[in-house]
Subunit: 479 residues, 2 copies
């Protein structure tokens, strides 16, 4: 959307390793943040500006995130003209939204017009419709239309993520024609890595990496340089699937096509990298029930996401509590059972979580499919058997040894055998549940990372208590 | 290392959406795998070849991973000449190693010579020194030297990952000179996205995106087009740090420099994407103690990684068991305490895991640093207070209600108050431990994802039992 102005290129902010603002891991130093803080407290906006001005946009974004909520507004007003599109694009979602809400519509529109469509959409997509309209009203009709069209696709799809700015040229061009065309054009994407070749109806017929063009004599036809087969991304494709496709085929950019197959936009790897990172990292958060798990998320949202999970776990824990209370008489006869039963449940839970984490990851990576489910279950059963046997032996020996003094030899050995058998059974159950639950959820088109852990823990907890206390009764350890 | 031969480009394998081998999520269909399997069983290598030949290299790699161990060898011998570098580079580490071990050294050397250094290194880095030597002995001296030099850097550093093939040109060139140079060169990287400009001592002075070159008239000096400030990656930088740098600055490629600052290689985003994916996804596996968590990992390795974790948890669980047994007399008086105590411990464990997952992620993303630790702890305390109050109220009311029949009103209310107080205290403890443990481990230069969960669970378990049973005694609920 910006008028390209690349001859000659302006020097960008330094990325120098030795910048005194950054520590050895490339994070903003605590001492630097304190300086900014002091200047903000003193109301010395000139000093704030001088401190922030040499930073790379990505570091300015980090600075906003590291400051407290109320300091962010002060900073934004102190450095208004440093709040470029690059800074906005790098900001954390929550931090960006609170910032955008604090700025007047005209300023937001001004920033949005400098950005590629995808970044501009990100800037305003989470606002109320009313605020969005106010901002869009301030924009050029052409930019407004592009953003409105992007907003018409569902969130987290290729249509929402794509940038409309791309280089598409007809099949009839030679390499020389293309170079001349590129030199003459003013309106260009700020960055592009491939050129898309289209037919007269704007259907993609091939792509050219820029290096192929640079290495080929001017008279060669583009159709002789381009690669005909390419990954076409439908506008409706989910971003997780897009990320897998980029990764699998090592893509730098890809054409996005609409329902009829016409070229409507492109996706570039620098935008996809954030998604790959997010999608890969979110499983740990989802499995623990931490929701978005973003430290910038408002407390109310964090509470609402996490408390739901805790309530669900309260309900499943009450299943175990019910099982234990059924064995109340047994426990009264041998109170040490109450101390040992939670150990059986807890180790089962750990073993189940291990298998579950492996399965959820393999499902997310498309490594666990219908073709190898049986083999993976069998593999996990063998791991569980080995783990179960080891832990059963350790726990059995330890219990028999420790309780030989208080309970006497025979009873202690019997107790050791009971806990060993219970451990083995529960760890094997955990292994089975750890694969079966995520796979079943996946086949029902549910995200296995979200719900698996409630079910797996419920199974391992209740099996742990039931098997251990049940065996204590059945084995005649207690009457 | 390959002789580049890009005029005109050969058509690559199709990436078409409608390939009958792939399902709607772009995974190989189960029915296709079965066809390959049947042909392998029947020893019909011609049919195997015909089935596999139309696949994209990334899908051939997937096929190997989806087959059983013994079928992989059969497949490899049936399609020897389809085993290109692209297939090898896409293979899972474990699958690739077992495959390479099964091939003669000369064949491996032949494959390695087609690859860029980084892929060739990946191919042989996990072999025994003896096998490596046998393969290197079969290679051209120049390629061998490049690989040996890469192997001299530690695993998971930029030096090991980088490719030595890059385009570096002197500052004196014009855009026209560069285009002529590129057209004349035969030895070129298979893919490149930026050109590095170096001084006579081979120190990097700037980079040019290829699109800038294509858009600039021939007579303009390169030094007027290039960007002077660039991210330089030291050879010794850890791959996780490299990945963060690529992500933060949206890099497509970056120059790698040796200790003296000379340009020695480049890293490109398609290699880094795998690392970003791995590093972001491994936290869920590390937190659960599942080690590498790769479904292709040999069973022995999976057992050894996981059983260590289970033993550690057995030891920490024995702390809780000891605490419970100290309250043996209390439990004998009111056996329902044995049923309720594990609920308090379990919810505390869940709350602790949530906070821990959030903190580990924020640490990995450089979002939680010394500058905002205090703010984040305070934030998590407030979330914990809200969660704790909610769960305490629910658990207290439920317990008071349920036990009013069996224990009588007064005792039931007292029990409800005890469990509510214990829940609140344990959830707040969990919130504190969930931030403090990962942050402390991080400051001691330990990976917070690896060890946090043992400590956090130990704290929430033992606090849960101690506080609940302790309050039962102190409150006079039992004598």
């Amino acid at each position: 959307m910006s008028e390209a102005d690349l001859h000659p290129l302006p020097a960008e902010e330094p990325l120098d390793e030795d910048l005194e603002e950054l520590d050895e891991e490339n994070r903003l130093k605590s001492s630097f943040i304190d300086k900014v803080r002091d200047a903000l407290d003193a109301g010395d906006t000139g000093r704030v500006y001088d401190l922030v001005e040499p930073l790379h946009p990505a570091d300015v974004a980090d600075l906003f995130e590291l400051l407290d909520g109320d300091e962010r507004g002060l900073l934004a007003s102190a450095i208004t003209d440093l709040m470029t599109g690059d800074v906005i694009a790098e900001l954390n979602d929550y931090v960006r939204d609170s910032m955008v809400e604090a700025l007047p519509a005209a300023t937001v529109a001004e920033i949005a017009e400098q950005l590629d469509t995808d970044d501009a959409v990100q800037l305003i997509e989470d606002l109320d419709t009313e605020d969005q309209q106010a901002i869009l009203a301030e924009m050029e009709p052409e930019d407004r239309a592009a953003i409105e069209s992007a907003l018409s696709y569902p969130e987290e799809t290729a249509g929402r993520l794509m940038q409309r700015e791309l280089v598409a040229v007809p099949e009839t061009m030679t390499v020389g024609d293309l170079i001349d065309y590129l030199r003459e054009q003013d309106e260009m994407p700020t960055e592009f890595w491939e050129v898309f070749v289209v037919d007269p109806r704007h259907y993609p017929v091939g792509t050219c990496q820029l290096s192929w063009i640079l290495r080929t004599p001017r008279h060669i036809a583009l159709t002789d340089v381009m690669k005909r087969d390419q990954t076409l991304i439908p506008v409706t494709m989910d971003q997780e699937e897009v990320a897998l496709r980029f990764q699998k085929y090592g893509l730098i950019s890809a054409a996005v096509v609409d329902e009829s197959g016409r070229l409507v936009g492109q996706l570039t790897v620098d935008d996809i990298v954030h998604i790959i990172q997010e999608e890969a990292g979110e499983d740990a958060l989802l499995m623990s029930g931490a929701g978005d798990g973003d430290i910038n998320e408002p407390i109310r949202d964090a509470y609402s996401a996490r408390v739901r999970w805790l309530v669900a776990n309260l309900l499943t824990a009450s299943v175990s509590a019910t099982i234990i209370s059924l064995f109340g008489g047994t426990i009264e006869q041998l109170v040490v059972l109450a101390a040992l039963a939670p150990v059986v449940a807890s180790i089962g839970g750990n073993a189940g979580t291990q298998t579950m984490a492996v399965s959820v990851r393999a499902l997310a990576m498309n490594q666990l499919t219908r073709s190898n489910t049986r083999r993976i279950i069998w593999r996990e059963m063998r791991v569980a058997l080995a783990n179960g046997a080891t832990i059963a032996a350790l726990a059995g020996l330890a219990v028999a040894g420790i309780f030989s003094f208080s309970l006497g030899g025979l009873l202690a050995v019997q107790l050791g055998l009971v806990i060993a058998a219970a451990m083995l059974i529960n760890i094997i159950t955990a292994g089975l549940a750890g694969v079966a639950v995520p796979v079943a959820l996946d086949r029902m088109d549910q995200d296995p990372a979200v719900a698996s852990s409630v079910f797996v823990t419920m199974i391992t907890d209740s099996m742990g208590f039931l098997v251990f206390l049940g065996l204590a009764v059945v084995s005649g350890l207690v009457g």
